[in-house]
Amino acid sequence: MIKLENIGYAVKDSRTGKKNVILSDINLTFPDGSITVITGANGSGKSTLIKLICGIETPTEGRILYNGEDITGKSITERAKAGFTTAFQQPVRFKGITVGKLLDIASDHKNNLAGLCDYLSVVGLCARDYIDREMNDSLSGGELKRIELAMAMAKGGDVFLLDEPEAGIDLWSFDSLTRLFTKLRGKTVLIVSHQSKIIDIADNIVLLDKSGEPVSGTREEMLPRITANRGVCSVIEGGANG
């Protein structure tokens, strides 16, 4: 179980020097084995929340507990080794490092073609076409995004933090993507998303709001609240199908 206690995060605006509060007084619990979708308007701090949980950023207030242990001061690497797996909103490009090499690093062993095929076929890519290609701009945005997800699957773990995993992936492949997330059932999964099809597979939903406390609950509890809020409803893509 992941528990956020009174989490706050503020940065100093480099231009004005003023303190810019991104998140304040966040108290949330993510139960073991549940899929939680984090949604909310742009700028509500969804990506920041993911970065705080995986250790890229450190909260300016509060603490993060994982299975009762305070992990607030633990590094990215320590959290990764403890079973935290992150897929970035913007996949990182590497000059000279191949897709195959990255999957080897993620899985922590040298894979043969069949092994790499297992990881890539889950995201709809054929291993033969990709393993020797560099993870650079010669790949399309959608391809980079799929490989980012394949790396997360290859790494494995107990906690999956996926930041807008559907962004840039064509609608034709969407169903296979949602099937991928259902494969993660049993893990603790946090997905930042605005997509109704992803919201449909959530056990719980967290609605972040810059001007107030986050609202969270089961999907059944939350859907009427989301659809009742016109401001948020317009953010949800594809219509919410309770």
């Binding site: 990215i76 690497t77 970035f88 490092i97 191949t98 790494k155």
Partner: protein, 306 residues
């Protein structure tokens, strides 16, 4: 050939002793071993200067020649002139390179002047590695000059690598690229300590549809210094692309000087250069996969250079 010679040969040419095919192994200013056949003939120079002439028979395919040089003494300046005459339609690989083992605190230097004459439709893959080792106080220096003349439809792919131990390098590569001819240069350099590496390219695209593609990747550590100077002149309808990427670590410095000169209005010339520290998001991504920051840095550098 002793153990040290063999180790140096392996470092620069991945040779486990005497290679197959044509070869010339030069040690401490003298030819140590040579073999030559009618496809690739290696002879002493006709003009009496130090070095060799290499003649590749027209139409010869899938053959290779090894011409490594090793220096195992300090206080030695080895200047060598090698000329390559590649016959029409031939397609060969030439593996050169020099390894210096200098146990003294003096200077050991190798100046290799290589001139390539590629006839119509011929293709050469030229691999050159430079490596230095021994007493850190002793200088290991290289001043390679590569001159390339590409006739109609010919291609030279040059892979130049220097991954450590060389105190000082000053490389000059010049080329004249003819009609439908292609020059590809891939350069990889790593410097550390107080090492200094200068790499200069001057390419004249004279023929219609001639192309050049230079990709230089470098990593500079500690207090080392690198300079990359490229000068591409487009005198016809041609395409030139020069890319210089440098990773800086510690207090190192990289200077990149681009020059592209479209003499012909039909010339299309591109220069890209990026020098800086390792991107933070690359380190973070690899750390989220479980690597430490140091492991992530090593992985990025290795991927970048190998």
């Amino acid at each position: 050939m002793d153990k040290l010679d063999k180790e140096l040969l392996y470092k620069i040419a991945e040779l486990h002793g005497i290679p197959e095919g044509s070869y010339n192994i030069r040690k401490d200013g003298k030819s140590l071993a040579r073999s030559s056949d009618s496809d690739i003939e290696i002879t002493s120079r006709r003009d009496g200067r130090e070095g060799i002439d290499i003649f590749v028979r027209p139409g010869v395919k899938n053959k290779s020649a090894h011409i490594p040089v090793i220096l195992t003494q300090g206080g030695l300046l080895d200047v060598v002139y090698n000329d390559f005459y590649i016959g029409k339609g031939a397609d060969v690989t030439i593996i050169a390179g020099c390894g210096i083992h200098n146990d003294t605190c003096g200077e050991a230097r190798h100046d290799g002047v290589h001139t390539f004459h590629l006839e119509e439709g011929s293709t050469v893959r030229y691999i050159e590695r430079h490596y230095g080792e021994g007493n850190p106080e002793g200088k290991k220096e290289f001043t390679p000059v590569t001159r390339v003349f590409l006739k109609k439809g010919s291609t030279l792919v040059m892979e130049a690598t220097q991954l450590g131990g060389v105190t000082n390098t000053d490389r000059l590569t010049t080329a004249t690229v003819g009609k439908n001819a292609r020059l590809v240069i891939k350069e990889k350099i790593m410097t550390s300590g107080r090492e200094r590496a200068v790499s200069r390219f001057k390419v004249r695209l004279t023929g219609e549809n001639s192309t050049v593609d230079v990709v230089s990747r470098s990593v500079a550590r500690d207090d080392s210094y690198q300079s990359f100077v490229s000068d591409v002149i487009g005198k016809n309808r041609c395409f030139g692309h020069v890319e210089c990427d440098g990773i800086l670590l510690d207090r190192a410095r990289i200077l990149s000087t681009p020059k592209i000169d479209a003499v012909s209005p039909e010339a299309s010339l591109v220069h890209e250069a990026a020098v800086g520290k390792i991107a933070g998001d690359q380190l973070i991504k690899l750390m989220t996969l479980g690597l430490t920051e140091k492991e992530a840095e090593d992985t990025i550098i290795k991927g970048f250079l190998y």
